[in-house]
Symmetry: C2
Subunit: 383 residues, 2 copies
């Protein structure tokens, strides 16, 4: 088991995919500062960029290879779409589908089970070009929640429904499932989405809960809190991706099975506007296009609206410093999380500005370290 | 029928309730600018303030008296709680319960029915002191959704659950209903929450939809869009309240049955962090405590995060001007709503700073006018 700050990040530019791959970072303690990589090279002709992660959380080291592979496959899927002329929003959805389809990630297939032993997923997607957003929360029986979120986004772009009704941007629960099926997204029986791994994790977590609750009986509150911290086995590994396409449009997406043993109906940051992902093209006021996807404890990421705040911070000149400050001031030291004993979260960030017919792109990852409120690791690349 | 900008606002200070009542504004076209009332009187000894509204939307003029009465009752409930020493968050919840219990408002009892003829409610509450937040989305079978949101907020303040699990801040659908009942909130059969008024509105809307869909068949898209605008009969009247207590703590809450004929599972701004309500006590960085509650088209209010942005704007010296600018720049002219032909929304805002043992309080209402993207009405009072 390794710490929260373990991200699986793989990126590929459309031109220099071979060179990029050697910079890809597998799971592990390799997220030490790499400030020397924070350069803006502004290579002429380089276009398009994909950055994905398989989540902040407690991963099994034995599966490190799998995580790396799925991240590479997700990148490749998105890159293929970009090469075929797709917009960023289509490419980011394609990357997410690959991440959701892996039984090793906590999204789609193989998601954490909730208290009742069911799978309920959250996902959202944002298109930096249209600034449209689509999200689903606590949705069951759908293998690829990101496709429902993407379909909501597309439908909203078509304008009003009959009799002037405004199309929804956020659907939850049974209604979300029904809407998805009525829009051509195939249902998937819950038993097919449950893996041996997720089921055994559920049984293990349930036993832990029972032991914790038994031990707490008759003990004082101090002991209860201490025990709770020791047994913090919630798997936080939301997956996400950020993409810039050949035209400089950005998009971001996020998908999650949510916390292990969550209460049915609990919705985390992955379905929450401004919290799970953010994408905003460059415009008059913002010189940089930015895309952000977050991972970590959903409640912490909701209450700090980390995706939007990181995006706003990335308009500063020094992207690396801006992300460090945003993670420190808007998350780790946020007054909204002052009562929390351990603040857990991470982001992948992409920013892009066009310079003389080329794209100047930076991708950065930042995350809190496990068991610490005052530390931050970032890694970054410039293209 | 009257326009979107019709708010029912009633407020009472704890000391000068008689004087305040004559300034209360019933439904109607009385929301012309009242800049002369935008004074900071800083009365010594005046403490506590309650501001409620029964929603932006299409109200029947025949029920204007009822709306005014329910707003007064809601204010009185909150004032009574404040007089008994309650904190702002308890008082604001009490006001919301009264608003939800009215069969005339689109919240709790008498809520709009969705496409399937069911009631699904959204509600949220935020405590400016602890900065905790609780929300429920698409919840059925609970008469007072705000009490579930408030219970989520209270439970989160108690710290982690067994085995280190993080308590949820946002629950939806069936899971939210089950959580509420397991926490002592009584269930309420759907048929008891449906009123004659909401049922007849549902039947009327359904007929309109059928006619609109029939007329659209065989016609071109232009005609379809025009027809849609003409038949825009969605009832937008979310209810809300903002409160400051004797200690200067603020709280805000919002509750809604959502858009009429919404898709099942649709969640609007009333359950969305930063969008439906916001409350933040004064601190080192913010001289003013602020509380905001929004009403209008949920999708528009989500995509602009209007509650949080209005709260941030209210740190400017001139509260009235700050709200005007926030409504204009962050909502009406927001790039996030550039594709919308009609932007609909309103806010109630309260800000407070302590000056020489007294509270300097301002309450302001702002709303877009019906069928206009570039107009704004505000009313404000200073105490």
């Amino acid at each position: 088991m390794i710490g929260l700050s373990s991200y699986a990040g793989v990126m590929e530019s459309l031109v220099n995919s071979a060179e990029d791959q050697q910079r890809s970072s597998p799971l592990g303690n390799s997220w030490s500062k790499k400030e020397d990589l924070n350069r803006n090279q502004g290579l002429k002709g380089v276009g398009g960029f994909v950055l994905v992660h398989a989540g902040a959380g407690y991963h099994s080291e034995s599966k490190a290879k799998e995580y790396k592979h799925v991240c590479k496959r997700a990148c490749q899927r998105a890159v293929d779409r970009l090469k075929a002329g797709a917009l960023a929003v289509e490419a980011v959805a394609a990357a997410l589908v690959e991440l959701e389809d892996s039984p090793f990630t906590n999204a789609g297939l193989g998601s954490n089970l909730n208290l009742s032993g069911e799978i309920e997923c959250d996902a959202s997607i944002m298109d930096g070009k249209s600034l449209q957003f689509g999200a689903v929360g606590a949705i069951s029986g759908i293998k690829n929640p990101v496709l429902v979120a993407n379909c909501l986004l597309s439908e909203a772009q078509k304008g009003k429904l009959s009799a002037g009704r405004i199309p929804p941007c956020f659907l939850v629960g049974r209604g979300a499932n029904e809407w998805a099926i009525s829009h051509g997204i195939p249902p998937c029986p819950s038993e097919k989405m449950t893996t041996k791994f997720s089921l055994s994790a559920y049984k293990r977590n349930k036993r832990k809960m029972e032991v914790a609750e038994k031990m707490n009986t008759g003990h004082n509150q101090t002991k209860k809190i201490r025990l709770s911290a020791e047994n913090d086995s919630g798997c936080l590994d939301t997956v996400g991706a950020v993409v810039v396409d050949l035209e400089g449009n950005v998009a971001a997406a996020v998908s999650s099975g949510g916390l292990a043993m969550k209460h049915p109906g609990r919705v985390g940051q992955a379905a929450h506007y401004g919290c799970g992902c953010w994408a905003q093209n460059a415009c008059n006021m913002n010189p940089y296009a930015t895309a952000v996807s977050t991972s970590g404890c959903g409640e912490h990421l909701i209450r700090t609206m980390l995706a939007r705040d990181c995006s706003a911070a990335m308009q500063s000149e020094d992207a690396h410093q801006a992300l460090l400050e945003a993670m420190q001031n808007k998350f780790i030291s946020s007054p909204f999380l002052a009562s929390e004993d351990c603040v857990l979260g991470g982001v992948i960030v992409l920013r892009c500005c066009r310079c003389v017919e080329a794209q100047n792109i930076q991708g950065i990852l930042g995350a809190t370290r496990q068991q610490s409120n005052a530390d931050l690791q970032t890694s970054s690349w410039g293209y």
